[in-house]
Assembly symmetry: C2
Homo-oligomer: 393 residues x 2
């Protein structure tokens, strides 16, 4: 964990199992903070509250999260409950209210059982520890199968700096501005405004480039906290000689978490990566990559290990972007299936074998320009249907 951060989790009774459902990240000092939030019109109550907190002085010291209940579409009571969580956490950890962020994930439209939540918050300070990252990660999961966390280390101004991150995902994943829940921490010294710019840019090419099912959640949020305790003297800005390294580390953590969410999509058996090159604009590359990764037919074909490239090109063609219909190349891993928009004879059993793997990379070269983008997703399986036919009941 980056210096200055501790974390923890416990079971307060929101989940039916005994898995943790309440987690917290705590910083020794008020950390510089930045956040990105869902563009869904029905933004959940805790997002408003967190946004309000960060707005006061660009800082957060305590980040509280519960799973099992999204506190979304819960009206005035939901707003009061999110504020109640914030006040209780401020008291439990002895910090000002505006230094507390709160977020929730789970079922939409049900009121939080506040006695359980408040009881949990009271006990939370005793559960917080330097190696509490795994407990925190367990506490934020819903239908996720695996915990998603990573940490990188680099040198800034001669000092060792860490950037860590954790995330939850699984379903209702088609982020717009942010993803389900992502938490990043660093001990680098960097101002909130700069951190926000960095987060915006990285989010666009990582969290915003994944999809599980095309559904944008009401609760998407990525929060970054920077303790500044690494000891790098100057605050980081793009003019700093080590900025490029810091940005690369930050992007690595974002991309790692985004891919981890996609790989652990509901019912998924594999990670699919769609790499679009040769586009005229960055926007076109992104739109096409996201259209292909979001296609139910492409996803089903990957599940069935069927090298059905016709579905890939149909998705390329419906992305609403300029495409030269005579110049498209498509490869599945190293296997070329389409060159200059003409079918190539390929070894079907070899292609099927490749598609059976845990990682499928679909390369689409438009041969029109120099822009590129990558998107990540997963296959569409029986288990996705099973999980979502009875998520709530």
């Amino acid at each position: 964990m980056p210096q200055g951060f501790r974390a923890g989790g416990l079971h307060c009774g929101l989940k039916k199992t005994s898995r943790f459902d309440l987690g917290v990240i705590v910083c020794e000092v008020p950390a510089q903070a930045a956040g990105v939030y869902t563009l869904n019109a029905f933004q959940a109550a805790p997002l408003h509250v967190t946004r309000e907190s960060v707005a006061v002085e660009g800082k957060l010291q305590v980040m509280l999260v519960n799973s099992g209940n999204a506190n979304a579409c819960t009206g005035k009571q939901g707003d009061q409950d999110a504020r109640g969580m914030r006040a209780a956490a401020a008291e439990a950890f002895g910090v000002a209210e505006h230094l507390v962020g709160v977020t929730s994930t789970g079922v939409i439209g049900e009121l939080l059982p506040m006695p359980k939540v408040l009881g949990g918050i009271e006990k939370l300070p005793q559960q917080v520890k330097a190696d509490g990252g795994e407990d925190f990660c367990q506490a934020i999961l819903t239908t996720d199968l695996v915990q998603k966390m990573t940490c990188v280390q680099l040198t800034v101004g001669g000092k060792t700096v860490h950037i860590a991150g954790s995330a939850k995902g699984s379903g209702m994943i088609h982020p717009n501005m942010a993803t389900m829940l992502g938490f990043m921490t660093t001990d680098a010294k960097i101002e909130s405004a700069q951190l926000q710019k960095l987060l915006n840019g990285v989010t666009d090419s990582t969290f915003n480039m994944i999809t599980v099912d095309g559904d944008t959640s009401t609760n998407d949020m990525v929060i970054v906290m920077a303790s500044g305790l690494a000891g790098n003297d100057e605050s980081l800005t793009p003019e700093h000689p080590d900025w490029a390294a810091f940005e690369a580390g930050f992007r690595y953590v974002g991309e790692y978490l985004a891919k981890a969410i996609a790989r652990d999509g509901e019912g998924a058996t594999k990670l699919i990566e769609v790499s679009v090159t040769g586009a005229e604009t960055q926007n076109a590359a992104r739109a096409i990559a996201k259209t292909v990764i979001g296609s139910s037919l492409v996803k089903s074909a990957c599940f069935g290990a069927d090298a059905n490239w016709g579905r890939i090109i149909a998705a390329v063609g419906r992305a609403g972007q300029p495409v030269n219909t005579e110049t498209v190349d498509i490869r599945l891993g190293d296997i070329s299936v389409l060159e200059q928009s003409r079918p190539i004879k390929f070894d079907e059993p070899q292609a099927a074998e490749y598609l059976k793997g845990e990682l499928v990379v679909i390369h689409v070269n438009l041969n029109m320009g120099n822009e590129h983008a990558t998107a990540w997703g997963c296959d569409l399986t029986y288990d996705y249907v099973r999980i979502n036919a009875a998520y709530r009941t």
Copy 2:
């Protein structure tokens, strides 16, 4: 069948089973024609050829269709093959080439086995008969389970007029400008240009309002042919006293076919109808209806008979349209689950019982204005995954 039309079908060897795979609609006289075509950038070869035919004098006399092979992404050879089909049909039926339209549906990216197709076209004239509609319908199906056809009768200028239609759908259904394959015929007297305007308007509120899987095909097309043999003297225009009746009949046929395609979506167990009212604009109503009907999570919940309205409101919120987050009502059939954006206590077993039915109607009232729209789709099931995990192999 409207006066002047005959139809037929046969098996020429494109499908592995013995089901018909080549069909034709023939008119006694050159019929006034209109068409709408997919906006997918990779428009299939036969669509170009049909467009070219209609462009010559706004007429078609023979409409040829094959299933089992889409003749899409097949390059110059595909274009030659589509022209070869047109030339062969012109010869077999003794009409000028530009009076022949051709279309194809099936696997993308494989060349048509032309000897089989040409052999079939040669035998086709003997299969054509006044009651050949069912044979034609069988010939256009791929993964469809049921044939889709209807006919209405109305009075125009004192004469009995018929409007008939047939369609195929099932997968890769998310039409943009047109749907998979739709064929409409009428014996009304109406000019091609007027027919085209009518078709555009009706398509926007029928064929363009359905989705099975969000994937827009390369081969979508709806073609209308009007024989003019009903005997109505004046050509129909919006100024004609019976225009409203004709338009309503035309719309009824379009909507009937659109709903039939949605109900018979790949793996579907039920038809889902999403009705959005109280929108500020028609565009907003349509966009929201299509977003809800396209949500994999909403579709899975309907399959599982789970009254998970949180997914419905999340989809409403991500449609990119203005929404007042305080005023939304949602009903499942007659069961109110959300009023003024606040959850209503409802009878869960009753709601589950309703959702188990073959038709689920989701009502969303935005309470912002007077515009409305309806979209149709189907549930997402194990069978959708099964069918699409191994469509081609």
